[in-house]
């Protein structure tokens, strides 16, 4: 079985965000880019599934610019067999990303696709579902437990207050949440091996955008409040403020 795992190259969560000169995207100066944290669970689950089946191939697919190869290499170092870079230097809307991924998944002939539940840049959490619908595949989002047996897929997805058990079947797109597994570290051997693995470059499928970012702003900063005290004797005053000033208790 060929498994596709889709990953995204995103700013580190420790980054400070500044608005760029176009007023619509971030200023990339001084920002470190990493593999999207949720995509690491996707890579791990793809590798685990292949190991369990004892056969097959895992292909990592990324949409982005030349820089995204760094994130592909990270997945290759974890053990993925080969990579595909769908090249587009321009920012796409979620639909455009899904369109490119769906075309590539179709070309790969994969019936099992993993990706993170959302990327930590635009936080949309919709690319998995869009991709699945474009392919007419099933899709389980925010997955924290997965079992595949033959065509049958049983998954648990995290929702408010608990977990839903979902039954579906292949072909399927699974979007992965923290807790699904423990992503492995790339070993030195893995990092060396990754250098020899191929990254195929293709141009990303064209699309007609369905939405457009017209502006980006930073939220109004919060004013620091007051220090009520420095030990337990300040507690009654704190509770008074919460009750009488904030009126929250």
């Amino acid at each position: 079985m060929k498994i596709v795992v889709c990953v995204s190259h995103v700013p580190d969560t420790a980054s400070r965000i500044k608005v760029g000169s176009d007023g619509k995207t971030i200023d990339p100066a001084g920002v470190t880019y990493i593999i999207n944290p949720y995509d690491e669970y996707a890579v791990e689950e793809a590798l685990k599934t292949k190991e369990k089946l004892g056969a097959g191939e895992v292909v990592v697919v990324t949409l982005g610019s030349e820089n995204s190869k760094e994130t592909i290499r990270k997945a290759l170092a974890m053990g993925v067999d080969s990579g595909v870079l769908l090249k587009d230097d321009n920012q796409r809307d979620s639909f455009g990303i899904a369109k490119a991924l769906a075309e590539e998944i179709k070309a790969q002939g994969s019936q099992l696709v993993f990706m993170g539940k959302q990327s930590v840049d635009y936080d949309n959490s919709i690319v998995g579902q869009l991709t699945a619908e474009l392919l007419d595949y099933n899709c389980v989002t925010v997955c924290v437990k997965l079992e595949i047996s033959g065509e049958k897929v049983t998954a648990e997805r995290e929702i408010e207050g608990g977990r839903e058990v979902v039954e579906t079947s292949l072909p399927v797109v699974i979007t992965c949440q923290k807790g699904l597994n423990e992503p492995r570290y790339a070993s030195l051997k893995g990092i060396m091996a990754a250098k020899k693995k191929t990254i195929e470059e293709k141009s990303a499928a064209s699309y007609t955008p369905k939405s457009e970012v017209v502006g980006m702003n930073l939220p109004a900063g919060k004013q620091p409040g007051r220090i009520v005290g420095s030990d337990a004797s300040a507690v009654p005053e704190l509770v008074r403020l919460l009750k009488e000033e904030a009126k929250v208790i």
Binding site: T13, N138, G161, N217, G225
Partner: protein, 324 residues
């Protein structure tokens, strides 16, 4: 010219959620501004509070009824709502940005060839353009988005918009449509409830603990304070990664983004990725021994000191105040 608007309301075990009423109310308000009207749809079996939808200013409340759709089915819900939207020509669909709404909205958008923008915190009309504001980078930045297609599917962040009863509310017409032969390619077969815990994503008050708690054995202090306040327990990434707390309690950029009325941060220094996930809380209280901790830059009220003395004292004081 915009055609009708449809609010898609979510229920849990047959009871429509508060966020569902928010969607109905915003759909009705937007319809008024656009000189059209809004309906609401609920998919499921018996819905106990369906009559309440009426007061939020929608014209029709449509109940797509089928006992097999009592639980969420992504394929089933997508199909029946798509059919309704196509038959009755709705241009804008409004859902809540809950687990269900996030899962369903993009699927509907592909079926309807619509643009999809999720997690909106503000809707503005600029001429005839609908401009949607939503957080990105876990709230470190906000973007304004315009949907370019005629059909639009949007989700609203819960707790941001208020469900407001319409002024001169004509009673909405209730239409029950029995649905048969639904597509159950994917379906929820059971729900495993987290035992006795409130979810940080839905809580009005959250008490969170960080590395300053020194170990998982001390989190009973957080749990006791949370119980006194009627709050959910949250955690920082550091303590989740250390295995002290389950990941579904994690607040921050790789956990949950929350905006409760009150957020109490105990022993949390306030890494940028944590602040991004909680700084839109209405009131923030921080307890930390390091007076230079970044958490104090967003806290409304702070106590600098030993949390092992302060938290139990706070729990007692809250209990006292609540009893009086």
């Amino acid at each position: 010219m915009v055609n009708k608007i449809l609010a898609v309301l979510e229920h849990r075990e047959g009871t429509i959620k508060r966020s569902g009423f928010e969607a109905a109310s915003i759909a009705a308000k937007l319809a008024k501004d656009l000189n059209t009207f809004a309906d609401a749809v609920v998919v499921g079996d018996a819905i106990s509070n369906i009559n309440e939808v009426s007061k939020y200013g929608v014209q029709k409340v449509i109940h797509l009824k089928n006992s097999e759709l009592a639980n969420y089915s992504s394929s089933g819900y997508t199909e029946v709502i798509t059919n309704l939207a196509k038959e009755s020509n709705y241009d804008i669909l409004i859902l809540s940005n809950t687990s269900l709404g996030k899962d369903l909205a993009p699927r509907l958008s592909i079926k309807l060839e619509a643009g999809c923008v999720v997690d909106c915190v503000k809707l503005n009309l600029s001429g005839s353009d609908l401009i949607l504001t939503r957080p990105t980078y876990a709230g470190k930045a906000l973007i304004d988005v315009k949907i370019l297609s005629d059909k639009k599917v949007i989700t609203l962040r819960p707790n941001v918009f208020k469900a407001m009863a319409a002024e001169n509310s004509a009673v909405a017409e209730l239409v029950v449509k029995e649905i048969s032969g639904v597509n159950l390619r994917s379906k929820v077969t059971s729900f495993k409830k987290s035992v006795g815990k409130m979810d940080v994503a839905e809580a009005d008050i959250i008490v969170s603990g960080g590395r300053g708690m020194k170990g998982p054995e001390n989190f009973h202090l957080i749990e006791e304070l949370a119980e006194a306040l009627g709050a959910a327990v949250g955690a920082s990434r550091a303590v989740v990664d250390a295995g002290w707390r389950p990941h579904n309690e994690q607040v921050g950029q790789t956990g949950k983004t929350v905006s409760p009325t009150l957020y109490v941060a105990c022993g949390i220094s306030g890494a940028i990725q944590h602040l991004a996930g909680m700084s839109s809380s209405k009131y923030i209280v921080a307890v930390n021994k390091d007076k230079d901790a970044p958490i104090f830059t967003v806290a409304d009220y702070g106590i600098t000191g030993d949390l092992f003395e302060i938290i139990p004292a706070l729990t007692n004081e809250i209990k006292k105040v609540k009893q009086s």
